[in-house]
Amino acid sequence: MILLWVLLLPLAGGLVAWAGGKTSRKVTVIAPIIALALDCLLLVWLWGRHSGFAHAPGSFPWIAEFSMAWIPQFGIEFALAMDGLALLMSLMVCTVSLAVFLVLGSSIPKNAGLHALLFMLAVTSVFGVFLSADLMLFFIFFEAMLLPTYALMIGWGEGDQSRSAMRFFVFTQAGGLLMLISIIAVYMAHATTTGEYTFSIVALAQNPMSGPLSLFCLLGFVIAFAVKLPLVPFHTWQPDAYAGSSTAVTILLAALMTKTAGYGLIRFAIPLFPEASTLLAPWMMGIGVATILYASWLAFGQSDLKRIVAYSSAAHLGYVVLGAFAMNEIGHRGAIIQMFCHGISVTGVFFIIDWIERRANTRNIAELGGLSHSAPRMGAIAMVFVMATLGLPGLGNFIGEFFTLTGAFQAHWLAGSLAATGAVLAAAYSLRIMQQVFFGPKRDLPEGHEPYNLLLPVATVLIIILVYVGMHPGPVLEAANSATGFGAIDTRMNPTDALLVGNVR
């Protein structure tokens, strides 16, 4: 029942904002904030109640469940379940969307009520993806987030967004349909072997598919996720979509929606097709490495701040794929922490970019410079987020990248070492941002707007989260650990790993 609340609270907040937004502007900000804050509290309470995440090996370590019949004729249940991984991701989503409403909520130029409703619909679907314990329900949530996002991109974007929004929609829809076919193939295969028609992932993962068909099914999943992350040949929709959307929508795309794909890989794709995943793992690691290097390279060549971050974001999610397909426990943990921290840090980065744009009326780094002179505190905050992006030890992203790379080295030394060079490229493009925008001689910039009132405190909280995860990753690791208790991956740790994990705990 708690999970239903977790899922429906944001939706309720959005509906109230929409209904009340016609008469009062304040409701459109306050209602979502209250709903999301309550949701955060619920999640924290859940975490506190279930410290330890102990579970029997090979089972799903659910800490809360909810299910009711939905389409019993097809074996589709409205089944929600939460383990440490889902909890981490939900908490990240909640924090990020709360931050979005706190900072940007009052600055929506038009139709703020509808904006809040659509945003919350998308957030609800993202929650739905994390909480679904039924493959078809997962698919429906995975697809349901598209339409509100599409509307947000078009209605509140910069200029004519219809082309890039359409590209986003068609790309993701194409991936989604391939995944639908895979899902149904899994369902049919399960029914022929066990005689039970069900989409429940517990049942499906206990009886994983094998044979050549499973490889094609895995490919269906992987392509859908590769489009959404995005991975390298499927990334072309991303920079335009990020650059043309409003900051709130860019954060929705970059921080929240990409995580549904990474989550899908770890929760669904690999456990459902252990054999095929092992077969495909080297290729996927290669694609992950290619994404890291190529996207970092592209990020270095951009001059629009949002495009730089779009490519850097793709590079960081390359690590998630790398970790997930390293097929060992340490890589999985790295991928999960990477997702969590990337969500938080990229949100901060986009807040900073939004501030720069309001301050200087441009996002082009060639026209910017010396902002630290007039705004030293913003410069300091930007510095922390940029350092998080390049993976400075002490911040959460470092833990994610470090574990991922450790996992990758174990799988194959070449993948690990190539991916490690990505960190150098990350340093290059990140420091370029700082140098060009904040340091250097002071430039005459047109008089822009003041920063939002809540930007500084919210950014500080985000930084505290990153520092906490970076300095004391134990609890997060433990939560991430509970996600990887089944099937495909090698849960035996070699002694150095055990030592490593033990130490950071």
């Binding site: 019949a69 939905w70 389409i71 019993p72 004729q73 097809f74 698919f139 429906i140 697809e143 349901a144 339409l147 599409y150 078009i154 209605g155 219809s162 359409m166 929609f169 068609v170 829809q173 194409a174 349909l177 391939l178 639908l180 076919i181 149904i184 193939a185 369902y187 049919m188 094609f216």
Partner: protein, 480 residues
């Protein structure tokens, strides 16, 4: 003939005597409102009659007709669709013709023909129903005499439908020559050797070619866009829904027979024509600027999807076709309904049908824009609409019969579909400086508004909570 039999046959009796009554009433008093009321009452009566006939079903009436729950389900469905179409098109017709009374006679006759088809178990009754339907459609399509495109469309349909009828007749003759019977049920017990006989195969192929014309399966689809464009909009909607549903219901009967002589080669042909229909329909829809032609190509695509459902047979075919048809009809009817209400309310000599005419509709008439959006999303098969559950059935059927390549084609064509349906949605919500003709759109009258909103409600409701309807269609399969 006892009381139960009359009770079972009552919907058909009402629908055949009805048009004669309406014709007499027109002779006595020629007024649009009277004719409309009478026709609607007849349809309502027929609807109730078919609901009460459920209690006496199944009942074989002569070797020609079988009144079972399967047939009655489709009968009720057709009657409801026809009734909604009559009501939706009132203003449009009044605007097009000063005395559109005979339209109603033809419309009721066409409905009667469609209803005969869905309860037929014999080639003779099937053919009779088909011809009653087609011949009424010729008149309906060319009904607006001032409209040249209507005349062209009517003639085109006349020639092609007559040709297809000839094909069906000849095919039936060949099958009869081999088996000596025209009853579906006896055909079902044919041995494989009889079925693979070349005469029979030729006959089956010819019957299917004729049916393909009716369903506008590629390569028999060429008439579809022209007829949809030229016909009065309610008639186009009738052709897109009722005319196709009746033929599909017969096909379901045939494919669901226990030992239906469905050879593998026949299934292969169904699969190929499904794939070609999906691809051709969706690719050609991409380049349309006229919403009627676009809906025509979209209907071709959807027939392709429905064909996939025929590959498995059994419960999936039964339930899937019924569910898909309800989802498709609700969405198609709503889309055509929006086009006809805007055309009627603007009172232009031409129909409002170019896509750019709908630019910014949302900012002029929110109801119509939202209704059209929901129906387009349902046609695109976006989750949480009825169209998605229909697509789910299609993928189930394809996966169960292991036609993986066909499912890839389904996915491709759906992606293209998403593009061209969303393009319209985008146009509806666009903010242009000059709102083209729709600037003066009058509000929609209450009955039409209720029907349109109900159709949208069906499109959404069946997507969000499909379980009850799935139970109904399954029950009909299990206890026909």
């Amino acid at each position: 003939m006892n009381w139960n039999m009359i009770s079972a046959a009552s919907p058909l009796i009402i629908l055949t005597l009805g048009p004669i009554g309406v014709m007499l009433s027109i002779g006595w008093r020629r007024r649009h409102s009277t004719t409309l009321t009478l026709s609607l009452l007849l349809l309502i009566l027929a609807g109730f009659a078919s609901l009460q006939a459920m209690s006496v079903a199944p009942r074989q009436l002569t070797p020609l007709l079988l009144i079972d729950r399967f047939g009655l389900f489709y009968l009720t469905f057709i009657i409801v669709l026809s009734g909604s179409l009559l009501l939706l098109g009132v203003q449009y017709l009044a605007h097009k013709e000063s005395h559109p009374d005979e339209y109603y006679v033809l419309f009721l006759l066409a409905t009667a023909g469609a209803c005969v088809m869905v309860v037929s178990t014999h080639f003779a009754s099937f053919y009779l129903g088909l011809e009653v339907l087609s011949i009424s459609q010729y008149g309906l399509i060319a009904y607006v005499r001032r409209d040249r495109r209507g005349a062209e469309a009517g003639l085109k349909y006349l020639i092609l439908a007559a040709t297809s009828a000839a094909f069906i007749l000849f095919g039936m003759a060949l099958i009869y020559a081999e088996f000596g019977t025209m009853q579906f049920a006896i055909l079902a017990h044919a041995t494989p050797k009889q079925v693979e006989n070349s005469v029979v195969l030729l006959g089956v192929a010819m019957v299917f070619a004729g049916i393909g014309f009716k369903l506008s399966v590629v390569p028999f689809h060429l008439w579809t866009p022209d007829v949809y464009e030229g016909a009065p909009i309610p008639v186009a909607a009738f052709t897109a829904t009722v005319a196709k549903i009746s033929v599909l219901a017969v096909l379901v009967r045939y494919f669901a027979l226990e030992h239906a002589p469905v050879s593998q080669s026949l299934l292969g042909i169904v699969a190929i024509s499904a794939a070609v229909s999906m691809l051709a329909g969706s690719l050609l829809a991409l380049i349309q600027h006229n919403i009627k032609r676009l809906l025509a190509y979209s209907s071709i695509t959807h027939i392709g999807y429905i064909s996939v459902l025929f590959l498995t047979g059994g419960a999936l075919t039964h339930g899937g076709v019924a569910y898909y048809l309800i989802a498709y009809s609700a969405a198609t009817l709503a889309a055509f309904g929006v086009v006809m209400t805007t055309s009627a309310s603007l009172r232009r000599p031409y129909d409002i049908e170019r896509l750019e005419d709908f630019a910014g509709l949302y900012w002029r008439n929110k109801t119509l824009a939202i209704v059209l959006t929901i129906s387009l999303l349902s046609l695109a098969g976006i989750p949480l609409t009825a169209g998605f559950i229909g697509k789910l059935y299609v993928v189930f059927a394809g996966a169960k019969s292991e036609y993986w390549w066909l499912l890839i084609v389904v996915a491709l064509s759906s992606v293209v579909g998403v593009y061209y349906y969303l393009r319209i949605v985008l146009i509806l919500f666009s903010r242009t400086k000059t709102y083209p003709p729709l600037a003066t759109a009058a509000p929609v009258a209450l009955p039409q508004r209720i029907i349109l909103l109900t159709l949208s409600g069906i499109s959404l409701g069946l997507g969000i909570y499909p379980a009850p309807l799935i139970s109904v269609v399954q029950a009909i399969f299990l206890h026909p």
